[in-house]
């Protein structure tokens, strides 16, 4: 592969070195290549065909807020685009250096600074990895309660910037519910402190920066709500006849005011794949008989054959007699966990669910982080994969599910699960697989599937992302999503990033985005 050399002047590098030292940055091609993408699948398709994403000119690793502030000031002076980089686990191309520039990897700002057990708050630097943060808290008897599947490869700053939601969000909330205070170095080069304004008046700066995807500034530090570790955990698996009854059960559960920590409802194909886990004993013979061949198909070279005719294959798979699996996890004081389980079981039984016992829930828990890493082998079988996570209110859930399934399934194999639930609605997590052709063909098919899915979502009144964010991937849909509300974000952008250096090309189309890069 041929790499264009970085377009950096000597005096720029001298300034940079004066700020972060000789080990604090890199212009090596290998580093520039490695930082040229996050975990989004379009980049993976491109790399599979040896096509590069735009390369950053330089990677920088600041150690503290002051260094970061000095870097921002340098970038303002030299009109150098800056792209915050956490774990690089984002799946929307949020860290791609669209116009070159400086990738700022936050991982050297990794300390857990304080655990306040009286007020149940923790303060940490934004570069700390999710898993390390949770492990440190658990060692002290606490939990953040934030368990995204990417906990092993995502950072706290990334959680906040991309508005992450963990698997146990029904109980502990999502990242925006956990954040109390932030420290941010804005694109103006200022250090801004936010405060907790909930239940009192004032501008909620926490909610301006949470979700801003690095387009307003760098989140450097956060104060977060924590909880004592739950003394008891319980699991359950239930099987519903179809998605309709399953969705109704989840709605009723959530509207009783109960908060089981995990509620996940899988559609027929997703159920089948889930049931393929070797350790899964709580499954019926019918499902056992089907699960294994399907899993083999997904992992085999004959997958390409199946994917070349999704129009024929999809309807067959969508009507498999597997039923729809509901996974539940309960946490808390034992007496409450028992009561919660009892009430939920009554709701599910009333809707004709079959009780599969603890096993499916336990198996899910054991594999809860591994399932998302199954994508790479698929590329070698001639397929590409991606996920679309959307949300809406209960009255539109079924329509949203059917519309997206219909819109996408003539181009790919598609399955879904209801991944997060609330009293007023929930989110669907669609996984699609399609056949990999040449670069142009694959990219076109990939874009087409996304376009079909997102258009169906918007037409049904859903929101286009529940927890992955927007990045480069979905930005063209954001104006429609926000309507006139985009004016508010644009004001924040004008104020916090007046020089247009912060993560260009992400979140929303900005007319004044400059394509030039000078340093």
């Amino acid at each position: 592969m041929q790499f264009e050399p970085p377009k950096l002047k000597k005096h720029f590098l001298d300034h940079l070195e004066a700020i972060v030292g000789p080990d604090g940055y890199s212009v090596k091609n290998l580093d520039r290549f490695n930082y040229s993408r996050d975990s989004n699948f379009k980049s993976t398709i491109r790399i599979h065909h040896s096509a590069l994403e735009p390369l950053p000119d330089v990677i920088v690793w600041p150690k503290d807020t002051r260094q970061l502030q000095a870097l921002v000031r340098l970038a303002i002076r030299t009109k150098m685009p800056m792209i915050p980089f956490g774990g690089g686990s984002g799946v929307c191309g949020g860290t791609i250096a669209e116009t070159g520039g400086m990738i700022v990897d936050m991982k050297k700002m990794y300390r857990l600074l304080k655990v306040d057990s009286a007020n149940l708050l923790a303060t940490a630097e934004a570069g700390i990895m999710g898993y390390t943060l949770e492990k440190e808290l658990q060692r002290k008897g606490y939990t953040l309660g934030h368990f995204p599947s990417s906990i092993l490869c995502a950072s706290l700053g990334g959680y906040l910037a991309a508005r992450s939601a963990g698997q146990n969000s029904t109980r502990y909330g999502k990242i925006e519910d956990m954040v109390r205070e932030l420290e941010v170095v804005t694109g103006q080069g200022e250090i801004v402190q936010t405060r907790d304004v909930e239940n009192g008046d004032g501008l909620d700066l926490n909610q301006i920066f949470t979700g801003s995807e690095g387009t307003l500034g760098f989140i450097t530090r956060a104060v977060l709500k924590i909880y004592p570790l739950a003394p008891c955990q319980a699991f359950r698996g239930l099987r519903f006849k179809n998605m309709k009854t399953g969705i109704e059960a989840v709605r009723r559960i959530m509207q009783t005011g109960l908060k089981p920590s995990v509620v996940r409802l899988y559609d027929e194909i997703d159920t089948l794949l889930f049931m393929g886990y070797k350790k899964n004993k709580g499954i019926t013979e019918v499902v056992k008989g089907l699960a294994s061949p399907l899993k083999k198909l997904f992992m085999s070279t004959s997958l390409w054959g199946a994917l070349s005719a999704p129009k024929l294959v999809s309807p067959v798979l969508q009507h498999l007699p597997t039923g729809c699996l509901l996974i539940l996890m309960h946490e808390g004081v034992e007496r409450l966990v028992r009561e919660e389980q009892k009430i939920i079981m009554e709701i599910c039984r009333d809707l004709g669910a079959e009780d599969l016992g603890e096993e499916p829930g336990r198996v899910w828990h054991e594999h809860r982080y591994s399932v998302s890493y199954k994508a790479s082998p698929l590329f070698h079988s001639g397929a590409f994969i991606d996920t679309i996570e959307v949300a809406t209110t209960w009255d539109k859930m079924e329509a949203l599910y059917s519309a997206m399934l219909k819109a996408m399934s003539s181009h790919c194999l598609v399955m879904a699960h209801l991944s997060h639930a609330y009293p007023e609605g929930g989110s669907f997590y669609f996984t699609f697989l399609a056949s990999l052709g040449g670069l142009k063909k694959s990219e076109a098919l990939y874009d087409l599937i996304w376009d079909k899915g997102i258009t169906a979502c918007q037409e049904t009144g859903g929101v286009i992302s529940h927890h992955h964010g927007v990045g480069r991937l979905k930005k063209k849909y954001v104006d429609r999503e926000w309507g006139g509300g985009a004016a508010l974000y644009r004001r924040f952008k004008d104020y916090y990033d007046p020089h247009g250096i912060m993560n260009p090309g992400k979140l929303i189309e900005l007319k004044r985005e400059k394509k030039e890069k000078v340093a």
Binding site: N199, L203, D204, T210, Y227, S465, G484
Partner: protein
């Protein structure tokens, strides 16, 4: 305007409606707003949204910013835009939450979509007698840390606490009384009652569970209806792991100034 989506448990309302009227409309349908603004039930919803008025029942139902799931907004420059109803999104900053509490600087709600809840099947008052304020605070921390979410909690020191006990004809002397009100499904409230006692078992905390209608009336009237509760949030925020109202940061003031000079 008042429209109820019973499947999603969302009410679409004219923000000029007073909270008391809104609550009554919901009660007639077996529902509640879960909202009791500290400024009183006569307050219009528009003021609550503009000022992010604290909710006396925040532990169970959350603040107004959590109750609002969408609506229609008009900015100071007159740009009107809808915010569709949704439970959660990761599409940039949350426009609902930035408009709420901005005192109109970022916009005003012309229509509000708010979560509503089934009226609690059971309501139970609990009084726990503690040796001192720290012990009582620890009692609340245990409760909240275990996800037992009363509608309301109140810590009363010696004079006030003893007065309350006397009005209920209870003879105990207590340094500090923790009063709380549990609400929800019958089975769940009973389980919470047992769990609260178990959590405080080791400290020999004495509990009373007043159930007679007259006692409940005294507690409701004294602690909820008549409570002058404007400073409520300052006192009780830490109980929910929240910071009591702190002054605006320099960053916040600077953004406000910019928005005043450059309205949206």
């Amino acid at each position: 305007m008042f429209h109820l989506h019973k499947i999603s448990l969302i009410a679409v309302v004219d923000p000029e409606m007073r909270v008391i009227d809104y609550e009554q409309k919901l009660n007639a349908e077996g529902l509640t707003s879960g909202y009791r603004p500290v400024t009183g039930m006569q307050t219009p919803l528009s003021a609550c949204l503009a000022e992010r008025t604290a909710n006396l029942f925040f532990l169970k139902y959350g603040g107004i910013e959590e109750l609002c799931v969408g609506g229609a907004v008009v900015t100071p420059q007159g740009v009107a835009f809808p915010i569709k109803d949704y439970p959660r999104a990761a599409t940039g900053c949350d426009l609902r939450r930035v408009v709420i509490g901005s005192r109109g600087l970022l916009g005003q709600f012309r229509e509000g979509s708010l979560k509503v809840f089934p009226l609690p099947e059971a309501l139970v008052w609990g009084l726990a007698l503690f040796e001192g304020p720290e012990a009582a605070l620890e009692g609340v921390r245990r409760m909240v840390g275990s996800f037992i979410r009363p509608l309301f909690v109140r810590i009363m020191e010696e004079k006030e606490g003893s007065g309350l006990l006397r009005s209920l004809n209870l003879s105990e002397e207590a340094k500090v009384v923790l009063a709380f009100k549990l609400g929800g499904l019958k089975g769940m409230v009973e389980a919470e009652r047992e769990a609260v006692m178990k959590l405080n078992e080791a400290d020999n905390v004495l509990f009373h569970w007043p159930v007679r209608p007259a006692e409940v009336e005294v507690l409701d009237q004294t602690l909820i209806v008549r409570e002058p509760c404007l400073d409520f949030w300052t006192k009780y925020a830490p109980l929910a792991g929240r910071n009591p109202a702190s002054p605006a940061t320099d960053g916040e003031e600077a953004l406000k100034k910019y928005l005043r000079e450059n309205p949206c």
